[in-house]
Amino acid sequence: MGFLKQDNFKRDVFLGIVVWLFLLLFFFIVPSAGIHDIIQKVFILGLFAMSLNILIGYLGLIAFGHAAFFAAGAYTLGLFLQSNVVNILGSLSIPIAIISAIFVSTVLAAFIGAICIRLKDIYFSFLTLAFQMLIYSIILALVNITGGDQGLMGGFPKPPFLGIDLGKPFDFYAFTIFISIITIILLRQLIESPFGYGLRMIRDNPERPAALGFNNQRHKLIAFIIAGSIAGLAGSLQALLDVGAYPEWAFWAKSAEPLFMILLGGMHSFLGPIMGAFIFEMLNDFVTANTRYYGLVLGLVILSFVLGLRRGLLDWLLIKFYRK
């Protein structure tokens, strides 16, 4: 097992498969629908938060409109599966719907990103926020297509493909986690590649790279697009889970959620955001079971992280027990 010590793609694939198989086993060991639901959500929200952390943790850009891509993915998938195309595509529907969702959010991210990355600091944040709210307004306005403030109602079919029937809890659980783990492995590769180090370089000192012959803007745009496409994938999985899509997913408060997760888990560790998603979901589950005042508890937890720990949990653990 020596190769486990090496940080490379093969090891990540191996670990990914191990985790996936373990979680499949877990499904049967702990047959609680509630817990399975939490695990699925942790992965979906974890993807969302990890994609945002490409920009926040590695690139140092505080994007505040990331939910736009999440919603774009969700609505695309929902509208696709509600359309007549499903009758023609049959069992190919779900894979193609997911690909379409990623495609639409990628194109949207390319468009919004190309405009936003020209701005710096708070101006960048505000422009991403403005675009997101513009998309929110469009979703509300196009009542005939999106269902306006009611959201995409009426459900949609989930035709089985490759023997996977997403209508069945186990299939959905296994599928969602599988897709998430693949994405996380690819993301890990991206972050540890020369490209990924280019992001850290820009974060560390945006002035210097030009004098090394390096084009910041192009790099930033590519990262923005990748982040948007992964958020779109997360959105499409969420839509599959909820069999619908809701305008709140495009509202600015939805963009704050992955920020919380990044804060809770840690922005400087690769798996920090998904750990944050786990804390976020556990908190959600635990608190809503005991009190109506979820916001109060979440607010206090965030406050204590911001002022107390001053970093995410995983960052803190790694610094305490691993690095020096």
Binding site: N8, L190, S193, Y197, M201, N205, A211, G213
Partner: protein, 247 residues
């Protein structure tokens, strides 16, 4: 190697650079001197395309590089180190140098290899040795001593294997001993790599010791150029610069 023809630059009416011409011979080592605010750094910024030239032309070899983008000019063989160290705080020395090496070859678009095991390791090793950074090779940049940070800044430039190397006050903020060590290192570098070097320096002893040609700048204009011997005897320089009491 580097030819500058009568470049000018003004910032809101102030002539920071005024009809400056400089020519550097291949494999030469040259100094650019002048009092604070004379416009030395501005000339570096103009050469490297960090700011645009108002008037005049700049050539490297046969190529006109006037007002090209900073990234493009860098790829044409000009590299610089900065007056205020300009490095990447969270990256280690090794990582920083590798980044510069990869930037040079557009290798940073690579998403399929692991940066850590990427093939430029050996080259990075050599650059670090050349710059004398081997002992702190795996240290995080922000934890380096000031002198090592300056060296790293230079090492980043070296990694680009430039034809022309511009060094903006490489000894700034150093004690006397450290200074001479740095200068020795620069001289060595220059001899080993056969680059054309232009450095900015306030310490006259250093300048006279290693520069072949010296350019004296005052209020944006070149008031003298020549060998150390010529500059030492130049009346204008003595009056304007050396005679002022301040080095």
């Amino acid at each position: 190697m580097l030819k500058i023809h009568g470049i000018s630059k003004s910032f809101g009416g102030i002539n920071a650079t005024n009809n400056v011409s400089i020519e550097l011979k291949p494999n030469s080592i040259n100094a650019l001197i002048g009092p604070n605010g004379a416009g030395k750094t501005t000339i570096f910024n103009l050469i490297t395309g960090k700011i645009s030239v108002d008037k005049g032309k700049i050539f490297i070899g046969e190529n006109n590089i006037t007002n090209l983008k900073e990234t493009v000019i860098t790829h044409m063989g000009i590299a610089r180190a900065f007056q205020i160290t300009n490095i990447f705080p969270t990256l280690s020395v090794k990582e920083s140098i590798k980044m510069a090496l990869l930037a040079k070859t557009h290798g940073l678009n690579n998403m399929w290899d692991r940066f850590a095991s990427h093939s430029v390791n050996e080259e990075a090793d050599n650059i670090a040795k050349l710059a004398g950074l081997k002992k702190v090779y795996n240290t995080i940049s922000s934890e380096l001593s000031h002198g090592d940070q300056k060296l790293l800044d230079i090492a980043l430039a070296l990694a680009l294997k430039p034809q022309v190397l511009l060094l903006d006050e490489p000894t700034a903020g150093m004690g006397p001993e450290e200074r001479w060590e740095m200068i020795k290192r620069i001289k060595e570098l220059w001899q080993k790599t056969k680059m054309t070097v232009l450095f900015i320096e306030h310490d006259m002893d250093i300048v006279f010791d290693i520069a072949q040609t010296i350019f004296v700048l005052q209020q944006g204009a070149i008031i003298a150029k020549g060998s150390p011997k010529e500059i030492k005897q130049n009346q204008a320089v003595i009056k304007a610069y050396l005679g002022g009491g301040k080095k």
